[in-house]
């Protein structure tokens, strides 16, 4: 699979794909004799994982570290476990922060729905508090 096809499949640019490979976020991709990238299923699996991690907001640094450990083989199981556990903690924390803001948004949106109806915003410490 060419870089363009892969980019189209996942909705990312060829530049981004080359960038991810260059910085070690995915293992090096095999080339044809003329030096052109030929993505295998295995490469696609890595890209999928990486995109999932990026979508969740995990830092590129962590992903690079994981790929590094993976390349080092079986003796890095524990290090990989620790890395993944840390990232899981970070995501759980992030979810909590989103929930706090969602609650606040729900409250504000409810008030504005009434305000749009009535033309008056129910008083609430100048719209800032809570």
């Amino acid at each position: 699979m060419t870089i363009k096809e892969v980019g189209e499949k996942y909705g990312i640019s060829s530049d981004t794909l080359r960038y991810y490979e260059r910085i070690g976020m995915i293992p090096p991709v095999e080339r044809t004799e003329s030096g052109i990238r030929n993505y295998t299923e295995k490469d696609l699996s890595w890209i999928e994982l990486v995109l999932c991690m990026r979508n969740a907001g995990l830092p590129i640094e962590a992903i690079i570290e994981y790929v590094k450990l993976f390349k080092m083989g079986d003796k890095t199981f524990e290090a990989r476990l620790n890395l993944l556990t840390e990232q899981r903690e970070a995501l759980i924390e992030q979810k909590k922060k989103i929930d706090i803001m969602l609650e606040r948004l729900n409250y504000k949106i409810a008030r504005y729905e009434i305000a749009v109806e009535t033309g008056k915003l129910t008083w609430d410490a100048e719209d800032c508090k809570k």
Copy 2:
């Protein structure tokens, strides 16, 4: 309240506080005759809201827009409602992405816990799939 005290209260730097004000993420803060910022309760409410939004990962752009609409007064209720509703949608989407990655992490972590015990990673398309 001085800029330093506010920074300490919320765990952000004075530089960041000045930056937030400069780009319009919070309304201008009143000054003493000598030109020094004197944060009021109202200012603190704005800072709290802004930090909550930033923690949740909402873009500074949206926050600036909200402050702008707020300054324009009562005729922007609907615009503010729309903005907040959009941001709520974005957060719900982000939460979904985090949940997808959390599921994946739970699966991988379970496999690595066994791997650390047994010294062998149960086969799974070279650790990339799923």
